[in-house]
C-alpha cells in the first residue's frame, strides 16, 4: 500500500522560477454552470491507503489537504487557479480581507451570510470562534507554531481542554463579525488563516480527533464515507450555492471516489488502462519511460518548493554524535536517490534545507566532494573516517520508510549505505497510513527515517522554524514535526530574531534566514536529499487538468465527460 505523505504549502508571489508547467493544458479557473455539458460523472482517484485521521484540524498531510480544498472553507482561501495565481489569498467565508489595525495586532472579519454547512445549518460567527478554539482543543500540529500569537493561545496550548481564547477571538453575532487580537504582529497571519487547520467547522463538531467520522463542511463536496484501507467517497454537497468562483468554485463531477489498497504498480496500470482518472502517489521510476512514451499528453510536470530528507534522531545513539550525522550526509549519493525518484527531470540534488525559490535561499552545500555551492559527489572515505572517529561502528541501526514505492526503495538504499559505513543496518517499511505519525513519536525510538516536507506557506520560516524550533518538538506525541529533535538555544534566538525582522524588513530577514539555513545544514540534524518536482499522471478522458501550486491537482475543476 502506498500513500505519499507530504506537508503542503503554497508559494509566495515572490517566487522566481519559471512557473508555466511545460505540458499543463491549463484552463481558466471557471466554475461549471448547472447545464454545462462537462458536468457529471464520477472521478476515480487511486492512492495506496488513507492518510490517517480525516479531521481537517488534525491531519497534516498533503494528500488530505488536497482533498479538503473542495470540502471545507476558511475565512480566507487561496485562489483556485492554475499555476502561481493559486497563491493570491482571496476572501472565502469572510466578505473581504481586512486591513490590520491596533499596530498590526487586530483584524476584524465580516462573515458572508447565507452559506450553509453540508448538514444544512447556516454558518455563523459562533462557528468561526468555536472552530478556532477547537484547533487548540484537538492540539492541532500547527497550534504551537502558527496560531500561538493569538491572545490566549498560550493558555490553550498548555491546557487544551479548557481553551477559551478569551480576548483572542471575539464573535459579535449581531454585527456578524469576528475580531482576531494578536499578542504581536504576524505578517504571515493571512496565510495561516487560509491553511486547512484554520477551516471553519460546525460549532458542535466533537472537540477530539474524529478519526474516521467525517465532519460537515461548506465546500461543493461532502465526505460520505472513509475507510483508510478501502475507500473515501465524496458526493456533491446538496446545500452548496456558489458564492465566490475564485475562493470555492463548484465542481464538475458528481462524485469523487478515492480508492485505496492497490500497489503503485497496479495504480499506474489502472490509470494507463483508463480504469482510473488520477493517481495520488508518485509513478514508480521504472514505469516512467513506458508512460512518458505512450501517454505524453496525460503527464503533467509542475515545479515545487519542497525537499526529501533523512531525519536523524539527534537524541538517540548513534545519531546523537554529530560526526555520525555528518558521515551520513557525506556518504549519501544524491544522484542515486534522484534516480530512484525518477531521474534529473523530476528532482535536483540538494544539501541545504531551504529549497531554491524561497526568500533567503543561497546555494550552499558542505556535504560533498570539494564542498561549495552545489553537490557533486559523495565522499565515502571521509564519511568512513568520521564513523571510525565516532567509535559507533557495528551499532544496530534501523531505517524506517513508508511502503510508497519510491520511499521504500530509498529505505533499502539507505540501509545498504549504512551497512557500507560499518553499521548493522536493517530497514522496516510500513504503511504510509501511519509512518508519518510513527517517526514523529519519540516513544517509538526511531533512529533514522525517510521523509519529505512541502512548505505550508511561502516563507523560510515554514521550513526552518516549523521543522527545527523547540516549539515543534513534543516528547512522546504523534505531532512532533521536529523529527530530529533539534532544540538548540542559539538557533532559537536566531529564529525569533529572523521572525521579528521579517515583519518590518523582509530583505534583512532573508539574509538572516540564509545564515540560519547554513547553521542548520552544518548541524546535519537532517540529510537533505533532493528537491522534487510534482508529476501527475491522469487518464485520457480527464479534461481541464488544473495544477494550482497551492493545492496541486484541483479535482473539482476537472471533468470526465
Amino acid at each position: 500500500m502506498v500513500v505519499q505523505q507530504r506537508r503542503r504549502g503554497p508559494l509566495a508571489g515572490r517566487w522566481v522560477v519559471l512557473i508555466v508547467a511545460a505540458l499543463a493544458g491549463d484552463a481558466l479557473a471557471t466554475s461549471p454552470a448547472p447545464n454545462d455539458p462537462h458536468r457529471g460523472g464520477t472521478l476515480r482517484v487511486l492512492a495506496g491507503s488513507g492518510a490517517g485521521t480525516i479531521d481537517p484540524q488534525v491531519n497534516y498531510t498533503l494528500q488530505f489537504a488536497n482533498l479538503y480544498q473542495s470540502v471545507y472553507d476558511g475565512l480566507l482561501a487561496y485562489k483556485k487557479a492554475p499555476g502561481a495565481e493559486a497563491f493570491t489569498i482571496v476572501p472565502d467565508l469572510a466578505d473581504a480581507i481586512p486591513k490590520p489595525d491596533n499596530g498590526g495586532k487586530r483584524y476584524v472579519f465580516k462573515l458572508r451570510s447565507g452559506i450553509k454547512f453540508s448538514n444544512g445549518r447556516e454558518v455563523t460567527v459562533t462557528d468561526v470562534a468555536a472552530s478556532m478554539r477547537r484547533l487548540f482543543k484537538v492540539s492541532s500540529p500547527t497550534s504551537g507554531t502558527f496560531y500561538n500569537r493569538i491572545v490566549g493561545a498560550e493558555a490553550c496550548i498548555s491546557t487544551p481542554t479548557t481553551c477559551t481564547l478569551a480576548g483572542g477571538v471575539v464573535a459579535d453575532t449581531k454585527a456578524g463579525t469576528v475580531t482576531f487580537n494578536l499578542s504581536e504582529p504576524d505578517s504571515e497571519f493571512m496565510d495561516k488563516l487560509a491553511f486547512p487547520h484554520a477551516v471553519i467547522l460546525p460549532a458542535d463538531a466533537p472537540s477530539k480527533d474524529v478519526g474516521v467520522a467525517p465532519i460537515a463542511g461548506t465546500g461543493p463536496y461532502q465526505i460520505v464515507s472513509y475507510d483508510p484501507k478501502k475507500q473515501l467517497k465524496l458526493t456533491r454537497n446538496p446545500h452548496f450555492k456558489l458564492w465566490s468562483a475564485d475562493a470555492q468554485p463548484d465542481g464538475y463531477v458528481d462524485e469523487v471516489n478515492f480508492d485505496f489498497g492497490l500497489s503503485d504498480e497496479d495504480q499506474t496500470t489502472a490509470v494507463a488502462n483508463g480504469q482510473a482518472d488520477w493517481k495520488y502517489d508518485p509513478v514508480p521510476a521504472d514505469r516512467l519511460p513506458e508512460v512518458s512514451q505512450k501517454y505524453p499528453k496525460q503527464l503533467h510536470i509542475s515545479p515545487l518548493t519542497a525537499l526529501y530528507y533523512l531525519a536523524m534522531n539527534t537524541r538517540l545513539a548513534p545519531f546523537d554524535n554529530p560526526k555520525v550525522r555528518q558521515a551520513v550526509n557525506l556518504a549519501l549519493d544524491r544522484n542515486a536517490v534522484v534516480k530512484i525518484y525518477g531521474g534529473p527531470r523530476l528532482a535536483t540534488p540538494a544539501c541545504q534545507v531551504l529549497p531554491p525559490g524561497i526568500a533567503g535561499h543561497e546555494p550552499y552545500c558542505p556535504w560533498t566532494k570539494n564542498p561549495g555551492k552545489a553537490w557533486s559527489a559523495p565522499d565515502l572515505d571521509r564519511a568512513r573516517q568520521l564513523v571510525k572517529e565516532s567509535g559507533t561502528a557495528g551499532m544496530k541501526v534501523t531505517v524506517i520508510s513508508s511502503d510508497v514505492a519510491v520511499e521504500k526503495q530509498m529505505g533499502i538504499y539507505l540501509q545498504s549505505l549504512l551497512q557500507d559505513l560499518g553499521y548493522d543496518a536493517t530497514v522496516k517499511s510500513m504503511s504510509a497510513n501511519v509512518q508519518f505519525n510513527y517517526i514523529q513519536n519519540t516513544q517509538n525510538k526511531v533512529q533514522i527515517s525517510v521523509t519529505s516536507w512541502f512548505q505550508d506557506y511561502p516563507a523560510a520560516a515554514d521550513f526552518l522554524n516549523v521543522l527545527f524550533s523547540c516549539a515543534s518538538f513534543r516528547e512522546g506525541s504523534d505531532s512532533s514535526v521536529n523529527i530530529s529533535g533539534l532544540c538548540d538555544n542559539g538557533l532559537e534566538t536566531d529564529l525569533q530574531r529572523a521572525l521579528a525582522t521579517g515583519v518590518t524588513d523582509p530583505n534583512a530577514a532573508a539574509a538572516q534566514w540564509a545564515a540560519i539555513d547554513r547553521k542548520v545544514t552544518d548541524s546535519a540534524a537532517v540529510a537533505v536529499m533532493f528537491n522534487p518536482k510534482r508529476l501527475d499522471f491522469v487518464s485520457k478522458r480527464l479534461g481541464n487538468y488544473t495544477f494550482g501550486a497551492q493545492f496541486y491537482f484541483i479535482y473539482a475543476m476537472a471533468w470526465v465527460k
Binding site: 505540458l23 500497489s263 503503485d264 504498480e265 499506474t268 496500470t269 509513478v283 514508480p284 521510476a285 521504472d286 514505469r287 516512467l288 519511460p289 513506458e290 508512460v291 512518458s292 512514451q293 505524453p296 503527464l299 510536470i301 549519493d333 544522484n335 542515486a336 534516480k339 530512484i340 525518477g342 531521474g343 534529473p344 527531470r345 523530476l346 514505492a405 521504500k408 526503495q409 533499502i412 538504499y413 540501509q415 545498504s416 549505505l417 551497512q419 557500507d420 543496518a425 536493517t426 530497514v427 517499511s429 508529476l535
Partner: protein, 340 residues
C-alpha cells in the same frame, strides 16, 4: 474376482531382496519421473549452495549492496545499471534487463542488484528454512503421532484433540499469528532469546505449523500397527515398550515418514515463501525467494523477470519435491499416505 486373482498371480515370488528397501529402491530408480525430480532438486540445492562463488566470480557484485549508480561494461560499452530514459520526456529510470552475460545474467532489480546472485542467496534461505522446518515437523509430528497412536487412552485423547485443533486452524493464520508476535519482539524462551531477524524463527514457526501434516497419518498408521497381531504378540511376551517401538513400530513407520518428508518439505517451501511475501518471514537484509518476488512485484510490468525467476524456481523445487514424494509413495506401497 478373488478366485480369479488367485489364478493370475500365484504365490508372490520371493526374489531374495532383503526387507523393505531393496524392492523399493529398484522401483524408485525405475521411475523416470522420480529420477528427473531428484536430479533437478540436487542441481537447485547445489547451485544455491554455490551462491557466494557465483556472486564473487561470475556476477562480481555483492547482491545485498545497492548499486543504483553502478556501471557495467557490455561488449566494451559502458552502461549504467539503472538506465535513464532518453526518449520522449526523458523521464524515469529502468534497471538493466537480462544481459545473458555473466554479469547481471537475469538483469538488475530496482536497487541495481544482480537478480541471479540474489536468486541463489534467496534459495539458500528458502531451502535451509524449509529443510529445518521439515526436520522439526517430522520429529515433532512423528513423536506426537507415534505416542498418540501407540499409547491410546488418555494420551491419545489429549493429543488427538490437540491435533484436531491445530489441524482445523488455517495454517497461514497460525503462522501469521506466531510470526507477528515473534517479528514484533523476538522470542524469549526462558534464557534463549531469538531476535526477529534470526532465520531460525520462521523455520521454527513453519515447522510447528507443519506438525499436523505428519502427526495425523502417523497416528493413523501406528494405531493400525498397534492392533496388529505381531505387536500384540510382542506385548504378550512382555517385551518392554521402548524395544517394541524401536523394533516393531519404527521400521514399519519409517516408510511413511520417508514418503512424508518431501511432501512436507514442499508444503513448507510454499508456506515460507508466503510468509516472506507477507514480510513476516525472512526479514531484510536477508533475502528469500518470497522476498525477491515481493521486490519483483514493484517491477512487474517493466522487468517481469525479477518476479518470474524466483517464482519459477520455487515451482520447480516444489514440483520435484512432490514428484519425489509421490514416486516414493508408489514405490513403497500404493496404499500409503494417500492424504496428498
Amino acid at each position: 474376482m478373488a478366485e480369479a486373482a488367485g489364478d493370475i498371480i500365484a504365490a508372490p515370488r520371493q526374489d531374495g531382496a532383503p526387507g523393505l528397501w531393496g524392492p523399493m529402491l529398484r522401483r524408485l530408480t525405475a521411475d523416470r519421473g522420480a529420477l528427473l525430480a531428484a536430479v533437478l532438486l540436487l542441481a537447485i540445492a547445489l547451485a544455491c549452495a554455490a551462491a557466494p562463488l557465483y556472486a564473487v566470480h561470475v556476477a562480481q557484485t555483492d547482491p545485498f549492496h545497492s548499486n543504483i549508480n553502478g556501471e557495467i561494461t557490455i561488449d566494451g560499452v559502458q552502461r549504467p545499471v539503472i538506465e535513464a530514459n532518453t526518449e520522449g520526456l526523458g523521464l524515469g529510470q529502468t534497471p538493466i534487463g537480462p544481459t545473458g552475460r555473466a554479469q547481471y545474467l537475469l538483469g538488475a532489480d530496482s536497487q541495481g542488484r544482480d537478480v541471479a546472485a540474489r536468486l541463489l542467496y534467496g534459495g539458500r534461505a528458502s531451502l535451509l528454512i524449509s529443510a529445518v522446518a521439515t526436520l522439526l515437523g517430522m520429529l515433532l509430528g512423528g513423536t506426537l503421532g507415534i505416542v498418540a497412536g501407540y499409547f491410546g487412552g488418555v494420551a491419545d485423547a489429549v493429543l488427538s484433540r490437540l491435533l484436531d485443533v491445530l489441524w482445523a486452524f488455517p495454517v497461514y493464520l497460525l503462522a501469521i499469528s506466531m510470526s507477528i508476535v515473534a517479528v514484533g519482539s523476538g522470542l524469549h524462551l526462558g534464557p534463549l532469546v531469538i531476535e526477529s531477524s534470526n532465520p531460525l524463527l520462521p523455520a521454527l514457526i513453519i515447522g510447528l505449523v507443519g506438525v499436523p501434516y505428519v502427526a495425523r497419518p502417523m497416528r493413523a498408521q501406528v494405531r493400525a500397527l498397534r492392533k496388529s497381531e505381531f505387536v500384540l504378540a510382542a506385548i504378550g511376551f512382555g517385551v518392554p515398550t521402548p524395544r517394541i517401538l524401536r523394533v516393531d513400530i519404527l521400521p514399519n513407520v519409517s516408510g511413511t515418514l520417508l514418503v512424508l518428508a518431501p511432501l512436507l518439505m514442499a508444503i513448507n517451501m510454499l508456506t515460507e515463501s508466503a510468509l516472506s511475501f507477507l514480510s513476516i518471514g525472512v526479514q531484510p537484509p536477508a533475502a528469500s525467494w518470497g522476498t525477491i518476488i515481493q521486490d519483483g512485484l514493484a517491477l512487474l510490468y517493466t522487468r517481469p523477470l525479477v518476479a518470474l525467476a524466483p517464482g519459477v524456481t520455487i515451482m520447480l523445487t516444489v514440483l520435484s519435491l512432490n514428484l519425489l514424494g509421490e514416486a516414493l509413495r508408489d514405490a513403497l506401497d500404493p496404499r500409503l499416505a494417500r492424504r496428498r
